[in-house]
Symmetry: C2
Subunit: 213 residues, 2 copies
Amino acid sequence: MAPLKVYGNVFSTATQRVFACLHEKNLDYDFVNVDLSTEEHKQPPYLARNPFGLVPAFEDGDLKLFESRAITLHVSYAYQANGTPLMAEDKKMPIQSVWMEVEAHQFEPTTGKLVWEVVFKPMLGMTTDDEEVVESEKKLEEVLEVYEARLKESKYLGGECFTLADLHHLPNIQCLFGTPVKKHFEARPHVKAWCEDIMARPAWVKVIQKLSV
Amino acid sequence: MAPLKVYGNVFSTATQRVFACLHEKNLDYDFVNVDLSTEEHKQPPYLARNPFGLVPAFEDGDLKLFESRAITLHVSYAYQANGTPLMAEDKKMPIQSVWMEVEAHQFEPTTGKLVWEVVFKPMLGMTTDDEEVVESEKKLEEVLEVYEARLKESKYLGGECFTLADLHHLPNIQCLFGTPVKKHFEARPHVKAWCEDIMARPAWVKVIQKLSV
């Protein structure tokens, strides 16, 4: 069997989302670095893998995929028997789906902007737009209020078990915990406990170790 | 059996997404209008249905859902035997998933901004931000270039059959076809043919008829 292949960059939060899933599933994979500094992701060979020129891309034998959440969904279904079950049982899937959509349409747009402004811009020598940060932090607080209420009701977003609905949040949370934005997560006890719980998962710890080598 | 219930607004594109799915499935449902003009969606009774205060929300017996794409996913799986099969067969699901994610992360952010600027702002007596329109149209052209290439390869985004991956695009396409933004879709022959094909579906025609009563 051809090995699974991840094309991406270890600093890309979307690539990290795929790593997290593969580690939860105890799956071996080859990693092919895409050099963002030389715009390798905007050149034809990579564009054939992802026509939008974004990392990551993925290969499972003949199947070629892109979009991190489509990749994690495929891995979770195709390797159901491996490692952590990342999908709720059928009856509980609709609720997991709701929170996967909330991540995509509420959490990601807000935290994605913050990650760009307070993590990547300083790293790239660019100037943070303070107004954008204030506005995004306000929006983040509203989103986290809803999360706090949800996590009072159930240990994880989808229910009592860790699923993809939680996993998809990990890269942006990890990034923001290294910045002052962390305070908004820590101010809400159930959100704080959930963040600490999911960031301590052995699979995620392994993903983080990749960043320091 | 308690009837399916949609809580929303006929002018909301997200509500229309759910209508489109229910009509494709030939399912009866009750519609409960949420009065956006009096901010009914920001009051406690509605917030209990969707804590983010957005339409639509949905009920299927005891199951209460929100987020339009989580609702269409539930309906497509739970009522698999009804009407149009909106999910590809298992082996082809990963590719459908990719294009569902593309809609969510590439198409919706761009066309959602345009719908706001060129459809809803004028309707509400607000001033369109021309700079925002120019920028979003540029981004839309890039996105549609990728769609054109994809639709040269296969009749629909997920493959040879109409699925949720196509359906999720309908409300924003319909809105923008009533504006000058339409030209970007019409300039690309495969995109144009796809738009005309999916907008002519009897289920979608029924959704549009709701707007004129």
